[in-house]
Subunit: 241 residues, 2 copies
C-alpha cells in the first residue's frame, strides 16, 4: 500500500489546506442558502449554483481579489457585500421599509471525501488550515462540520493574505518548520504557485464542481506540482497513507 515517496515529499511534515473550494463547497452552500433566501424575498437567483451572492463574493482563498481594505477581517467584507445585496433584493421585492434582514447563513458543507481524507492524512501529517478566512470563521466551520484540524491557521495571523509570500512563510514559521517541510493543498493553481514561489511544496486537488460546471474549472494536473490528486482520499493514497 505504501508508495515510494520522492525525497521532496518525504521531507514534508505538515499539510496546509486552502479551505473555501478545497475543503468545503462554499459556493454550493451559499447557493443553497441564496435559493432559500431568494424564495423568502421573492427574488430567486437564476440557476442553482450561480446565485448573485456567490458570484459577488471575492474568492475567499484565491486571494487575488482581496485589496488592503480587507486586511482586518474577511467576515466583515462578506457581511458588507451580503448586506448590500439584501438591501437591493429587499428593494426589488418591495420590502425596503421593513428594516434590516438577519441572514441565516448555514456553514458551508465539506466535499464528500473531505472528512475521511483529512482523518487519513492526519495520521501522517500535521494538518492545518491556511485560509484567507479569519480564525473564528474557520474554527466555527470546523467545529460544525467535525473537520479534524490539528490547528487553525489563517492569513489573519500574518497580516498578509494569500498569495502574499508572508502568509505561506508565516504558517511554516508558526509550525516551527522550514518552508520545504510544508505542503500547501489547494484546488486553486494560483494559490499553489504562490506557495511554491515561497518555497513550500504543492498538492493540487481537483474540485470539478466548485463552480457547478466542470468546464468552468481548470482541472488539468500539472507536472510542476508535487502531487496531483482527484480528492483527499487520492491524496492520502499518493502520500502512502
Amino acid at each position: 500500500m505504501t508508495k515510494k515517496l520522492t525525497p521532496a515529499l518525504r521531507a514534508v511534515k505538515a499539510l496546509t489546506f486552502d479551505v473555501f473550494g478545497t475543503v468545503v463547497d462554499w459556493r454550493g452552500s451559499i447557493a443553497r442558502e441564496g435559493l432559500k433566501l431568494g424564495k423568502e424575498l421573492a427574488c430567486a437567483p437564476t440557476g442553482p449554483r450561480s446565485p448573485m451572492l456567490a458570484r459577488r463574493l471575492p474568492a475567499g482563498d484565491a486571494g487575488s481579489a482581496l485589496g488592503p481594505a480587507t486586511l482586518t477581517n474577511i467576515d466583515s467584507l462578506h457581511r458588507r457585500i451580503l448586506d448590500r445585496i439584501l438591501d437591493e433584493s429587499a428593494s426589488h421585492a418591495g420590502r425596503g421599509a421593513e428594516g434590516p434582514l438577519e441572514p441565516r447563513l448555514a456553514p458551508p458543507r465539506p466535499w464528500p471525501d473531505a472528512l475521511r481524507g483529512l482523518k487519513r492524512l492526519k495520521k501522517g501529517y500535521l494538518v492545518t488550515t491556511l485560509s484567507n478566512g479569519n480564525v473564528s470563521l474557520l474554527t466555527n466551520m470546523a467545529k460544525h462540520a467535525g473537520l479534524p484540524w490539528d490547528c487553525v491557521l489563517s492569513a489573519e495571523l500574518f497580516h498578509h493574505y494569500k498569495p502574499d509570500p508572508e502568509a505561506y512563510l508565516g504558517a511554516a514559521a508558526m509550525l516551527g518548520l522550514k518552508p520545504h517541510e510544508v505542503m500547501m493543498v489547494a484546488a486553486h493553481k494560483s494559490d499553489l504557485r504562490a506557495a511554491q514561489a515561497a518555497g513550500l511544496r504543492a498538492a493540487f486537488v481537483q474540485r470539478p464542481l466548485e463552480f457547478g460546471d466542470p468546464a468552468k474549472k481548470d482541472l488539468k494536473p500539472e507536472k510542476t506540482f508535487d502531487v496531483n490528486a482527484k480528492d483527499f482520499i487520492d491524496l492520502a493514497s499518493k502520500l502512502g497513507l
Copy 2:
C-alpha cells in the same frame, strides 16, 4: 443532570484553557524525563518531582516570570535553559568533551481527566488553548496526546504574554466574541484574576499534584471565580454538560 446556570455563565460560548499545569502535568513529565536523563548523566536529581530542570524552567502559563526577552518564542527560552543545565551536568559528570547532547523530551502527559473532560466540554463550548507556549509546541502536544481543541490560540499570536490583558482580549477578539462570552480555565489563580480583570469569566480547576505535594499549591475555591472545579469532569458537570 442539567444544572441551572447563572446568567453570567449562560453567556459563555468559549472556554480558553491554560495548558501547562492545567491540562498537562508538565512538571511531572519533565521530572520523569529529568530522572531518565539524570541516570544517563550519573547526576540524578533529588526527588521525583523536583528535578533541577523543572525547578529552573519559568512557569509556562503563570506568566509572571516572563520578561520581554521571551516575547518571540518560549520554546527557545526553555531550550536555552535546558542547554545550560545539560552543559553543567555534562561537566559534573566529566562528559564535557563529548559534544552537545540532544535531549529527548517526551511531550507532557495530560492529567487523567483531561481528554474525557475536554470531549464533554467541547459539546457545549468552543474549546481552545490560551497558553504562553507557542503555537507549534501546543499543536504538537495536542496531536500527540489527542487533545480535541477546536483551535490552538497562544499568547504568541497577540505579542503579549499572560497576564497582560492583551492576551485575553486578543483571544476573545480572534474568536469573534466579547470578553464576557469567554471563560478562562486555569489551575493558577493569578491567570484567572488577570482574565477577570480583562472582562473574561474564570473557572478554577484544582490540580493538587502540580508541584507533587498538594501542600505546595493554593487549592482553595474562591467565591470570586465563576466556577470552582475539582477537575475537567467536575467542570463539565457544573456547566450542565
